[in-house]
């Protein structure tokens, strides 16, 4: 029933490989093979450093004009083993294995929905993103799924080991796993020792990777400068609203239905909904939660469809129509997402802009919105700000100066900020034009376009404009 026969497993496996390969193929065909999403470029940059220097970076001189490197070593290290081949193969491999692991986990938990849940998972935009780009969370997800499966098969020690090593890939995810493991350990007898080992290992991993935070002290900000509002949450969590790693709105709705049916106890349902809402809201600060959430949502959503299928309906017509619409909704999301893959940043024109920058003098400072910072680093340029806010030096004052520079109509103010940070290039692209000036010639854009004695447009194509600042002594 509902894709549970063994032959469907192979069909789903083929579908999984096809979808993951297709996303890479689309980027190759339309974007010269540039990965989408900034995290890939961050990891590639660190991996390149490790490969060249045979050591982990102590500081990141390109970010915020120089800052201590505070991050996990696992994923960049993995990529650095072969910087050309591994980034192309590893995500697909991890995706396929994660799918297989998920399939077997669901087989153990709820046999009836294993096929359906796996199908819903692999046609989710979040799954495609997770295993088409270079994100450390792909390894975390794979290790966690493997550990859960081992745990279900009573192989607790190996499971614990896998849980522990997730800390080398994403410490926040590892912390979340530790919390869940602790809650589980409190309710299950005989797990206290494992919990203690997990906790001690967690501390050791923290010290190994982040010992320098004791020298640096408390970070200026944890959540950065992201604004908390409903619009932002919706735009981040739902792929249908343009998020590159969000899940389908229909997946979310189906999961809500699934949770409703999975519990007869009102209190439990309420708790499930509350947890879902809290996790969803928190994704605005911890985007990675989406990658863990999608597996849960796939499970609940498939249970939702399964229940809708087998529960007594007053009208068979409404039953069939509702199920068909839900399935069409899921299909629509993945088709729309695949269609949009080649339009995600960096596009071909965007990549050309980066290539141009890469050809310019190394280590010069490029000013742009923080969302462009990591890409600019990838072009061997120092960024003014990037989206890695943790332990960034002077993040608040830089954010303030960035806002002043973007919004100023006064050339003297603009030049003062530019000189203060030794900015040499200013990067503007379509998204920035829209975000700050609604495509109007005003504020900084006006100054850039109509002050040729101060700014020289050195690059321009359909998407990107790059201006070079001409200092007083070179005019």
């Amino acid at each position: 029933m509902l894709l549970n026969a063994k032959k469907y497993f192979y069909l789903l496996l083929i579908l999984c490989i096809v979808l993951l390969s297709l996303s890479q193929y689309l980027r190759f065909r339309n974007n010269d093979g540039f990965f989408y999403g900034e995290e890939s470029y961050y990891n590639l940059k660190i991996a390149e450093f490790i490969k060249e220097n045979k050591a982990f970076p102590a500081e990141d001189s390109m970010s915020y004009g120089g800052r201590p490197y505070v991050g996990e070593y696992g994923y960049p290290l993995l990529l650095s083993l072969n910087i050309k081949i591994i980034p192309r193969i590893l995500p697909i491999l991890l995706g396929v294995f994660s799918f297989i692991l998920f399939y077997f986990i669901i087989t153990k938990i709820k046999f009836e929905i294993r096929g359906l849940a796996s199908l819903i998972l692999i046609i989710s935009p979040t799954f495609i993103y997770l295993f088409s780009t270079l994100t450390k969370y792909s390894v975390v997800v794979f290790l966690s799924l493997f550990a859960i499966l081992l745990h279900l098969n009573k192989k607790h020690k190996i499971a614990l080991f896998l849980f522990i090593i997730t800390g080398f890939f994403s410490f926040i995810s590892s912390t979340l796993i530790l919390i869940i493991y602790s809650i589980y350990g409190i309710f299950k007898k005989g797990k206290k020792f494992n919990l203690l080992i997990f906790f001690l290992s967690w501390i050791i991993i923290f010290f190994v990777q982040f010992f320098k935070v004791f020298k640096i002290g408390v970070p200026e900000t944890i959540f950065g400068i992201i604004q908390f509002n409903i619009n932002n949450i919706i735009n981040i969590i739902f792929s249908d609203f343009g998020s590159i790693f969000g899940f389908s709105l229909f997946l979310f709705l189906m999961a809500i239905i699934g949770i409703y049916y999975i519990n007869d106890n009102l209190l439990k349902t309420f708790i499930y909904y509350s947890v879902l809402i809290i996790f969803t809201v928190l994704t605005i600060y911890f985007n990675a939660l989406i990658f863990l959430l999608v597996f849960l949502l796939a499970f609940f959503a498939s249970y939702g469809i399964y229940s809708l299928f087998f529960v007594d309906w007053k009208s068979e017509i409404f039953k069939h129509l509702t199920i068909v619409i839900l399935c069409c909704g899921l299909l629509f999301s993945i088709v729309a997402y695949m269609d949009g893959i080649s339009k995600f940043t960096p596009t071909k024109d965007f990549a050309d802009g980066l290539k141009f920058l890469k050809g310019q003098k190394i280590n010069t400072v490029v000013f742009s919105d923080y969302s462009r910072g990591i890409y600019l680093n990838y072009a061997d340029k120092k960024n003014f700000m990037d989206s890695n806010f943790l332990y960034a030096p002077g993040v608040s004052s830089r954010a303030l100066d960035a806002e002043r520079l973007f919004r100023t109509n006064n050339l003297n103010v603009a030049l003062a900020i530019i000189n203060k940070y030794n900015i040499e290039y200013i990067w503007i692209d379509k998204e920035i034009l829209n975000k700050f000036w609604a495509n109007e010639d005003r504020e900084l854009l006006f100054l850039l376009r109509y002050s040729p004695q101060n700014f020289n447009k050195v690059f321009s194509n359909g998407d990107v404009e790059i201006y070079q600042y001409i200092p007083l002594n070179r005019r």
């Binding site: 409903i230 919706i234 249908d240 229909f250 009208s315 409404f318 619409i325 909704g329 495509n439 109007e440």
Partner: protein, 487 residues
């Protein structure tokens, strides 16, 4: 639903009065009443000529992508075959048919036939409804009857006919107009009202509502996919420039309601809602109250324009006015004035004539369509511009330029996915108000503008009498109300 012959006659009479009233004003002028009508006319003609929908408009904003729900245009093409007379009659026919649905809805909340007939009569003469829907080709003409039919069917799902009507409407409504969101909000508010425990929705209703919400969401996502990707949840703002947005999405005011909805529907409707919620624990009362509240919520969240909101609010209040009337009739029956039935009916008719019919008539008598001079100007302009050049007009004239002159416009009111509407709107202001020739020449070149249309409306809107930079300037040759660019 069996009606007494007498009621049928009266209902038909109300329909014919409404229809005739609308046709009288519609055919009182040769042209349509708004630029929007011409914009829709172009889509219908394109569909008839090319046998395909228009997804790229060469003429709007000098060329841009389009997204819109296509069903209305398909429907109008099929039933009008491009005849302007039919394109004038069909929307009026659909909008007049609303009186039937309002009658049945009013009967749902009240049961009294005469009160329901009165509600139907009121609904045909809501001032803002007449103003915004008369003599225009507008998707609202099809969307509003479908929305009301869907609401009415929602309460009769046990009947196969209404169930299929509901299913069909759930698919059709989002394909006609995004106003389908009103139904989704109505359902959510309805369940919120019922959560008090006064009434329990049937299982069938829950199933039907789940289905319709999902169907509306899916179809809307499919239609507006590009816009959702482009704007995210900010699609609600429809890419409308802020000053236009502030104009279209004004806050609701009592005076605005009195003028737009009319005194009778407003007073009787509000009292009806109060009586319904307090005295009558009936599902139709709760459901139509949810409809009214839903519209108010959408208005307060600025998700629908003030004119559309008031239009729907007016219709919703008409339904409840039947409840007030019914209660009044019941009350009088219990008093010693019970034998004054005919006098009361006469009084009601007089009040209808005084507070609804005459204001609507007076309002529409002063209501003008696009004037002949403007149409002639636009036709004349076409001769000076080739297919790749642009005619500059004010925001409201954009659709007219495209439809009548068949030339590229600089800006029009279809903002969704339009290229740089905010900037263009500001540039229009620059064109009409600046004195800097250099700036104008730069903009003319940038946008490839060949003709600047300087209509009376533009003069009034921007408070200008002359285009300063054209004075003694060989680059501009005046031809009546427009200037041809010659350098």
């Amino acid at each position: 639903m069996k009606l007494q012959i007498k009621s049928w006659h009266l209902l038909l009479l109300i329909f014919f009065i409404t229809f005739a009233f609308r046709l009288y004003f519609t055919f009182g002028t040769e042209h349509f009443s708004s630029g929007e009508a011409y914009f829709n006319l172009r889509y219908v003609n394109h569909l008839l000529e090319n046998k395909s929908l228009m997804f790229y408009d060469d003429l709007s904003y000098g060329g841009r992508l389009l997204i819109y729900p296509p069903l209305f245009y398909v429907f109008m093409s099929l039933f009008s075959l491009g005849s302007v007379v039919m394109l004038k009659i069909l929307p009026e026919l659909f909008l007049s048919s609303i009186v039937f649905i309002i009658y049945f809805m009013a009967k749902d909340v009240n049961g009294n036939e005469y009160a329901s007939l009165f509600a139907a009569l009121l609904s045909g003469f809501i001032p803002i409804f007449l103003k915004d829907t008369l003599n225009v080709i507008s998707p609202y003409s099809l969307a509003l009857p479908i929305l009301l039919l869907m609401l009415y069917s929602s309460l009769r799902l046990e009947n196969k006919f209404y169930m299929w009507a509901f299913i069909l409407s759930s698919f059709l409504l989002p394909l006609v107009h995004p106003i389908a969101i009103v139904f989704v909000i109505t359902i959510l508010v309805y369940f919120l009202l019922l959560s008090g425990g006064a009434l329990v929705p049937t299982k069938l209703k829950k199933e039907a509502f789940l289905f319709s919400i999902l169907a509306i969401l899916l179809i809307s996502f499919i239609i507006y996919k590009k816009a959702f990707f482009e704007y995210g949840i900010n699609i609600i703002g429809q890419n409308i420039p802020l000053n236009v947005l502030a104009d279209q999405y004004q806050p609701l005011s009592v005076s605005g309601l009195l003028i737009g909805v009319g005194i009778l529907p407003l007073v009787l409707g509000c009292v009806g809602i109060y009586l319904g919620i307090i005295n009558q624990k009936k599902k139709p009362v709760y459901f139509y109250s949810a409809f009214t509240l839903g519209v108010l919520i959408l208005l307060s969240l600025r998700m629908i324009t003030i004119s559309v909101g008031m239009m729907i609010l007016g219709i919703a209040l008409c339904i409840f006015s039947a409840l007030t009337m019914g209660s009044l009739i019941e009350y009088i029956k219990k008093t010693r004035f019970a034998n004054l039935n005919y006098f009361i009916a006469f009084l009601l008719l007089v009040s209808f004539v005084a507070f609804s019919f005459i204001p609507s008539y007076t309002f529409l008598s002063n209501f003008t369509s696009i004037n002949e001079e403007k149409i002639n100007d636009i036709k004349k302009m076409a001769a000076f511009v080739d297919n790749n050049e642009v005619i500059l007009g004010n925001l409201e004239e954009g659709h007219l330029i495209s439809a009548i002159a068949n030339r590229k416009n600089f800006i029009d009111t279809n903002f969704l996915l339009a290229p740089n509407p905010v900037k263009r709107l500001k540039d229009v202001e620059v064109f009409y108000t600046t004195f800097s020739e250099a700036k104008i020449l730069e903009l003319l070149k940038k946008y490839n503008i060949k003709v600047i249309y300087f209509s009376e409306d533009t003069k009034q809107f921007y408070f200008v009498r002359h285009l300063k930079y054209t004075k003694d300037n060989k680059c501009f040759r005046q031809e009546g109300n427009f200037y041809v660019v010659e350098c």
